[in-house]
Symmetry: C2
Subunit: 196 residues, 2 copies
C-alpha cells in the first residue's frame, strides 16, 4: 500500500560511512545532519527515520568502532607468557586507536554532546575486552600472577593503555616525549607488578 522505502539498509550504511568520514576528516564538531544528508543525497529526515536522532547515529558509530577494536584485539597471537601477551594486547590497542583517532574519541571521550552509549552498546564495549580478560585469567591460573580478582588486573591494564593512548591523542604528553619507546616499557612494568 505505501510507497517503497528509500530510507533502507543501503542508505543506512551510506550515512554511517559518510558520517565516519566527516568525523575522521574534521572532527566530531564537523558532523552536521544537514551536511551529512546533503552529501548522501537525501534529507535530514532520513537520519531520524533510520536512527532516531543524532546521538543515536553516533551510537551506531560507537558500536562500529568497538567492532573494529574487537577484531584487532582478537587477532593478537598469544605466546603463553602472560606479561608478553599483555604487552602485545596493549600495542594492538594503541594501533587500533591510532588507526582512527576520531572514532576512538567517540568511544572513550564524550566528544559529541548529548551522546551516551545505550545499554546494548555498553555491553558490546565490555565484551571487546574479552581477550584481555582471558589473558589475565590464564596468567593467574598458571601461577604467574598473584591471586587477586581478575577484574583488578584487567581494569588496571585497561586503565594504563587507555590513559596513555588518550593522553597521547589529546596532546597532553610532553612535546619531545617519544611514546613508542616508553609505551612497551610501561606496559611491561605494569604487568610485572602483578607477578608473584
Amino acid at each position: 500500500m505505501p510507497r517503497p522505502r528509500t530510507h533502507d539498509k543501503a542508505l543506512r550504511l551510506k550515512l554511517l560511512d559518510r558520517a565516519g568520514e566527516l568525523i575522521s576528516a574534521d572532527g566530531p564538531k564537523a558532523l552536521s545532519l544537514r551536511k551529512l544528508a546533503a552529501d548522501a543525497g537525501t534529507s535530514t529526515t532520513a537520519v531520524y527515520s533510520l536512527f532516531g536522532s543524532k546521538p543515536d547515529l553516533v551510537n551506531a558509530l560507537y558500536v562500529e568502532g568497538f567492532r573494529r577494536f574487537g577484531e584487532r584485539l582478537n587477532a593478537v597471537a598469544r605466546t603463553g607468557d602472560a606479561v608478553a601477551d599483555l604487552v602485545r594486547l596493549g600495542v594492538a590497542y594503541r594501533a587500533s586507536a591510532q588507526a582512527d583517532p576520531h572514532l576512538y574519541a567517540i568511544m572513550f571521550t564524550r566528544s559529541v554532546p548529548g551522546f551516551e552509549p545505550n545499554a546494548e552498546a555498553d555491553r558490546l564495549a565490555r565484551a571487546t575486552l574479552e581477550p584481555l580478560e582471558d589473558t589475565v585469567r590464564r596468567g593467574i591460573a598458571s601461577g604467574q600472577f598473584t591471586d587477586v580478582a581478575p577484574e583488578v588486573i584487567v581494569v588496571s591494564s585497561w586503565g594504563l593503555v587507555h590513559g596513555l593512548v588518550s593522553l597521547e591523542l589529546s596532546g597532553n604528553l610532553p612535546p619531545k616525549f617519544s611514546v613508542s619507546g616508553a609505551y612497551e616499557q610501561a606496559l611491561r612494568a605494569n604487568a610485572s607488578g602483578w607477578l608473584k
Copy 2:
C-alpha cells in the same frame, strides 16, 4: 574620555564562577553564552570583550581546573618511600577529579567542541605534575627504581591514574566493580613494576 568599564575584572570572575556552576550542574552542553550572560546580569558581548570567544572562556576554566589540581597534589605529604608516595599522589589525583568531574572533563576530554587549550594553558597543565616528577626522581636517585628516564615512569603513572579515573567517570567500568578497593592495589602494582 570614555565611560568607565563594567566589563571589568569583577565581572570576569563572576562569569567564570557562574560558568563553572552551570557546567558542574548540567554538564558542558548546558553552558550557553546567552544563559550565562543572563545569569550574570550582562550581555553576551561581555564574554567577547573579556575572553574573546566561548572556547577562550573554557580555556580560563581549564587553567582554573589545573590550578586546583596542583594545589591538591602539592598538599600530599611525602613518606620518603617512592611506591607509597606514588600511591598517595594517585589517590589525591582521583579525589581531585571526583571533586569536580565536569571540570576534569574539560581538562582531559574534549567535551566542549572547538576548545583547544592554548600554549600557556598547556604549559601550566604540565607544571601541575611537578610533585609526581619529583617523587619519581627521588625514587630513582635513592636506588629504589630502575634507572630509566624519569619521564617514562612519570608518564606511565600519570597514564594509569588518568586512565582509571576517566574510565570510572565515563561509566565504562563494569557496573559492580568496586573502584576504591582496586585503585590503590593497581597503583601499588604499577609502581612496584619499576622497583629494582
